[in-house]
């Protein structure tokens, strides 16, 4: 395991992520935004690889990049009656920008102050096997609750997509 993270790939990925996010937010075409989001997700999964969290990188790729992005595209397709509906005036709001900027700055400063930030990365990092082992021992209960959450989402989605037959 490399004891330190090589600077070049990290910064490459950072530009990909931030660029993707910026394009998602500021693109006028909803479809383009969806694709840029997809690009950002893939970059994030790369970042996870850098942090030697292989399982999470894989999950990120499959779940977010695959399912969510595709699902978003589906809904966009369903809600566009005409092609040109996709092009929408760029919604900008100074208030939102102000609030987001303040929040970002405050957290950044606070993080800066996070005194014991080790620059060096510790050597050993547990692999997927240990992740799998712990998932079904220490984290079994959250796992079950997560499954319930999925069930609820399922019931809700089915309910809302169902037809509104007679009361």
């Amino acid at each position: 395991m490399p004891s330190a993270i090589p600077a070049l790939p990290f910064y490459l990925l950072v530009t990909a992520i931030i660029g993707g996010a910026l394009m998602t937010i500021f693109s006028r075409n909803v479809v383009h935004a969806a694709f840029w989001l997809l690009e950002a997700m893939v970059a994030v999964s790369g970042l996870f690889l850098l942090l030697s969290a292989e399982f999470l990188a894989l999950v990120q790729l499959l779940v977010y990049a695959g399912a969510v992005a595709v699902l978003t595209l589906f809904v966009i397709m369903l809600t566009l009656r005409r092609r040109e509906d996709a092009i929408r005036p760029l919604d900008t709001s100074v208030a939102a920008a102000g609030l987001a900027a303040v929040f970002g700055i405050v957290t950044a400063i606070a993080v800066g102050g996070f005194s014991p930030l080790p620059a060096r990365m510790p050597a050993a990092a547990p692999g997927i096997a240990q992740f799998g082992g712990e998932l079904f021992t220490r984290w079994a209960l959250p796992f079950e609750v997560a499954s319930v959450v999925l069930l609820i989402a399922l019931v809700g989605a089915v309910w809302w997509s169902g037809e509104d037959e007679d009361q």
């Binding site: 405050v106 957290t107 400063i109 606070a110 993080v111 102050g113 996070f114 005194s115 021992t137 220490r138 984290w139 079994a140 209960l141 959250p142 609750v145 997560a146 319930v148 959450v149 069930l151 609820i152 989402a153 019931v155 809700g156 309910w159 809302w160 169902g162 037809e163 509104d164 009361q167």
Partner: protein, 461 residues
Amino acid sequence: MRSYLLIAPELVMLASALLAMFADVLPVRGRRVAAWIGAAGAAAALVIALAVGPGSVTLFGSMLRFDSLAVFARAATAGLTSVYLLWLAGNGASVGRTREATTLALLAAMGAMLMSGARDLVLLFLTMEAATMPAYVLIGFDRGDERGLEGALKYFLLSMVTSLVMLYGMAFLFGMSGTTSLDGLRVTAFGSLGLIAAVLTIVGLLAKLAAAPFHYWSPDAYAGAPAFSVAFVSSVPKIAGVVALVRVVGVLGPQVRGLTDVMLTVAVASMVIGNFAAFGQKDVRRLMAYSGVAHVGYLLLALAGGTEAGSIGAVLYAVAYAVPSMAIMFVVAEEGPTLDDMDGLLSRRPLAAWAMLVFLLSLVGVPPLAGFFGKLYMFSAALDAGLVWPVVLAFAFSAVSAGYYFGIVRSAFLGQRPRAVRVRSTRNRAADVAIAICLLATVLLGLLAGPMLSVLGYALR
């Protein structure tokens, strides 16, 4: 073995939820069989929860510990859900497909019950999401009505953002303390980042309870939603929400200077906005939304006191608030959401009218009902902690609240215009039994406060 016994109530709830979902498969016919199953299941969970009593679950990395406070919350949640489903069984026809509603209610209740025992940030987050997601669907349950869906969307979006803010806070809490278990959280060494992380986490919890200034979703959501779903959403999840807040504030409070001031400001804001906005309301659902904000304000005042008695008083009051407000929404669901629908209720359904009066009086805090004793404990704890003028303000507001609550009483009792024909008189005995149980609970919670408090392991003195 002990651990499985401890989470038996939750398992029973899950089982009955699944059974309710596949009610069609069962041989028993009838649209409302799901609700009956649900009601029975929840009742069983209540009994087990009380029987098993407190204890800590050694399995699963001891993320779950049910102390007496949690036992009380779990029992109350199960009991209320059982009464809710009993009422639902009685009103099934007017509510449409009860199967989905029952399942969602049971799953939400299960999530809430687990939440009251969660001692770990991850589990807390997961159980909280499990408890609130069904609320989105229940609020927008009436698929045909876009106002309901609009309410659900607003609730959804606002909750998502506040949950993310909470997650962001939790992430840093984890980062600083190295562990996600509640007891191990240490933020003191990390300067302002620790403080910020704590506040962000607590904001998420406050938003779930619809405390001001994070309450904006609740008036629109309740006003759009069908009354029967407001009955559930406005009462049951709040109990567990308060317990969670008690846990988090209990851990972070001593470490973060000024946290109690934040709680105090939010409490006073909730009282002011809740009470004043409720005046002049003509839709009872919206009125109850603002009343909910006001009562959360009273709760937070007790928690701001920071004493152990305050937190127990707050949980007791959460239940003392939940029972009457749910029952009021039952009657509103049967009669119609606006004040005019309530006109002449006394002449049409005298028992319901008297019950409504008792529930409203309990919310105002008139003795000898539950509301009064709840406020008495909470505010004596708060006064003990020196918060004199906020308590006086709280008492003054509860007096003022009689103004808008009595708007409902006046229409019900003095309204002259009995509505010509009752459109949906399809409710049957079960619904009335449910209301009767709530009535009994509101009165007994007041009179038998003593024994009930011993269940809570109350040690004020």
